[in-house]
Symmetry: C3
Amino acid sequence: MKTGEIAELVHGQLVGNDSIEICRVAATGNASNGEISFLERADADLKTSAACVLVPENFKPADSLTVIKVKNPKLAFALIAEVLHPPKQRDPEIHPTAVISESADVALNAFIGAFTCVGDNSSVGEGTQLRAGAKIGDNVSIGRNCILHPNVFVEDGCTLGDNVILHAGVVIGSDGFGFVRGEDRYVKFPQIGIVVIEDNVEIGANTCVDRGALGETRIGEGTKIDNLVQIAHNVQIGKRVVIAAQTGISGSTVIEDDCVIGGQVGFGDHARVQSGAIIGSQAGVLPGKIVRPGVWWGTPIQPLDEYKRQNAHVKGLARLKEEVKKLSEQLDALNGEK
Amino acid sequence: MKTGEIAELVHGQLVGNDSIEICRVAATGNASNGEISFLERADADLKTSAACVLVPENFKPADSLTVIKVKNPKLAFALIAEVLHPPKQRDPEIHPTAVISESADVALNAFIGAFTCVGDNSSVGEGTQLRAGAKIGDNVSIGRNCILHPNVFVEDGCTLGDNVILHAGVVIGSDGFGFVRGEDRYVKFPQIGIVVIEDNVEIGANTCVDRGALGETRIGEGTKIDNLVQIAHNVQIGKRVVIAAQTGISGSTVIEDDCVIGGQVGFGDHARVQSGAIIGSQAGVLPGKIVRPGVWWGTPIQPLDEYKRQNAHVKGLARLKEEVKKLSEQLDALNGEK
Amino acid sequence: MKTGEIAELVHGQLVGNDSIEICRVAATGNASNGEISFLERADADLKTSAACVLVPENFKPADSLTVIKVKNPKLAFALIAEVLHPPKQRDPEIHPTAVISESADVALNAFIGAFTCVGDNSSVGEGTQLRAGAKIGDNVSIGRNCILHPNVFVEDGCTLGDNVILHAGVVIGSDGFGFVRGEDRYVKFPQIGIVVIEDNVEIGANTCVDRGALGETRIGEGTKIDNLVQIAHNVQIGKRVVIAAQTGISGSTVIEDDCVIGGQVGFGDHARVQSGAIIGSQAGVLPGKIVRPGVWWGTPIQPLDEYKRQNAHVKGLARLKEEVKKLSEQLDALNGEK
């Protein structure tokens, strides 16, 4: 890609040479020939050997450097990386070791790696990659251009949209955790629902998404989930939600569109996070809680401002105690004078 | 199953038609012909197209509806689901790709899926299923009617009782985390014990249970463990314990029978949770702590009542500070009068 | 090994018979013929049938018992266990089911188990074991005497030093979690870096280490990481660091040499933990925070002493409130007298 084409792609203003060939993205500190970088803030010190740099619109470049001025350099950088570094393509292939049911429907140009399984009546869409050791059960539907990384498992009856990425070790559709205490044992509550994963979802390594107990667990379009996250039965996650690593979401909780959830957050069951809410890492949301839009923090969660104020009060406790002691002494003195 | 048979199975009182054929369980909102639902509370509004509903004993049904009155409708529902939706049976088979040691002892009616391994001197009991990619090491004993879901791994020397379910990606018997600081490096403390899993245990996806360092790690009969839980070396878990997702239990900690542990709880090493204790999600238990029966919360854990009281005090800090300020002013005024 | 040889190995002073044959280590309570144990404290009550016991230098043994006096009995015990219980050796083999690229370079005496993959231009060093189902991508370099337990996955371009142990289900080099919010969707920030794991690192089951976004994620020599840990893109972990289970480390955070990190700790991004710091379990480190050497606790983390003091203040809140009430009453009385 030439610098001129890149400027066009990101709707930027090119300053310098429009025909430098760019083949990779790189950080400013390491970039060299053929590489493009980005600078987030106009007042940052720019030292780079990059062939071209994406910069904020008010940045003043040195004469020798080719830059592209854009509103959001980091976003522009990501958009260019999508073109220069697309997910690794693998030629259509069905590895001879793959175990594919006769009733399965696998697109001709899919990649089906070694030691994979595709169960009865399951389908794999065009351009989809099942990497080594990925296993899909019966009656599973997998859309187009998905990537199931090694050792992913998708249980019976679940469906994936298009462009879904499941990183290594992801488990979709395992039984939810539901038991009813009987007289002398726990009886399993039925876990016979499914998981539906919409288009453009990406799920991190070793994350688990349980099937619905009776209904479905759903992950909305464009949502991104990090590694080692737990999503329980019947959870409903909206569109364009971001969930960082090791967060756990209990049964039937709803997270509406465009929420941002930190890492190691815990959600009780049947909570609802309203669209646009932001929840800080390690926060704890009680069962049934309704979380309004805004920034939330702590366990149990509070608005960030309140959390900070309360934290300050707690930190000031030693002083408060001291003051009370002094008041008490003064009072004793006053009483003594009488 | 006919409604009459179901009423008998759950010791309920049938009101209506005793010969409706039931083939599935379903939620009241979605149920239709051939499906049975349940209603937890007698005062709930019941709108359903279910063929039959399990209801509390004091519920007053509409004339047109067939119901079964029981003490605990949810439990009855689960018991019926056990019959109508048993774990998927797989016909006895040894997949041609399976790698089974000549010295292993595999029951004739076991299901041994694709890409599985069974090591030297290991045994697999009757009716047990090793799904695709499950691997068991040497000298492993697996009981009857177990299900090892895809990509489960059971390391050398561990034993599983009967009816054990290990969900996808579970790791049993990996080395515990024990190191002794030497002069210039950490020396591994030996991790040469085993894991013993008793009958009727169910363990969630990607959960890890480490082998004992010198002795054993044990999970008692009927215990249920959720996804992504960490169980360290030499932990002893009693019977009928329930542990929710992402909880971590450090070395040698003991959790006695019938405890209920929330999600994301952390246990230090050598703690002991006495029979019947209930620990809330995200709680933290210090090393060596003895947790008495009752409901516990917070980090470090406190009885729930104390936790709530303390929380209220913290929330009231702004007001307390205000009061102290006022007292101080009043005192100053008094002193000024003199 | 004879007791005399063992005494020499650990630089200890043998008291008793120097030619007892020892073949296993064991806990004092279970040890018997041919087994060696250790006693940590000289004042502990020693009841054992062990053939020999490692004891503190000031321990006074009974006449009948053979002991070896050492400075650090637990360390000596671990050193002996290294000799008596080395990692299980597997004879050189390439299992017929293994899928190995023609361009891969696998040492002649490596063990390549069933259902493994080795990608293009990857190398596997001498004495290294790839157990069943382990998969390594393209351009991966794996050193000598490593053990990759079942179902481990190492993604393209990553490198492992010598003597690295990856427990079952570990994922190395999955994409980091980086997205830039565009107008109507999240655009993936490029995740095209690598992971470098230095010599003598051990990583627990189902732990995830993400590749660098543009640069590298690095785990230093001799570092030990427990199960279910999350290590994000561009994290730099020093040498001889210990990290307990379920801890999560966000992007670009640096943990310097010789730190000790508890379980379930959460690190924000771009934090730095200085060499020798100790962080208690469930602590939370804010983004960008610099953590000095010392012992830290809580969320947000504080020095342990402060944390304890603050905790005591919070626990004393009920009393403080009571005192303020009393003062208020006394003041009212004083004011009333006027």
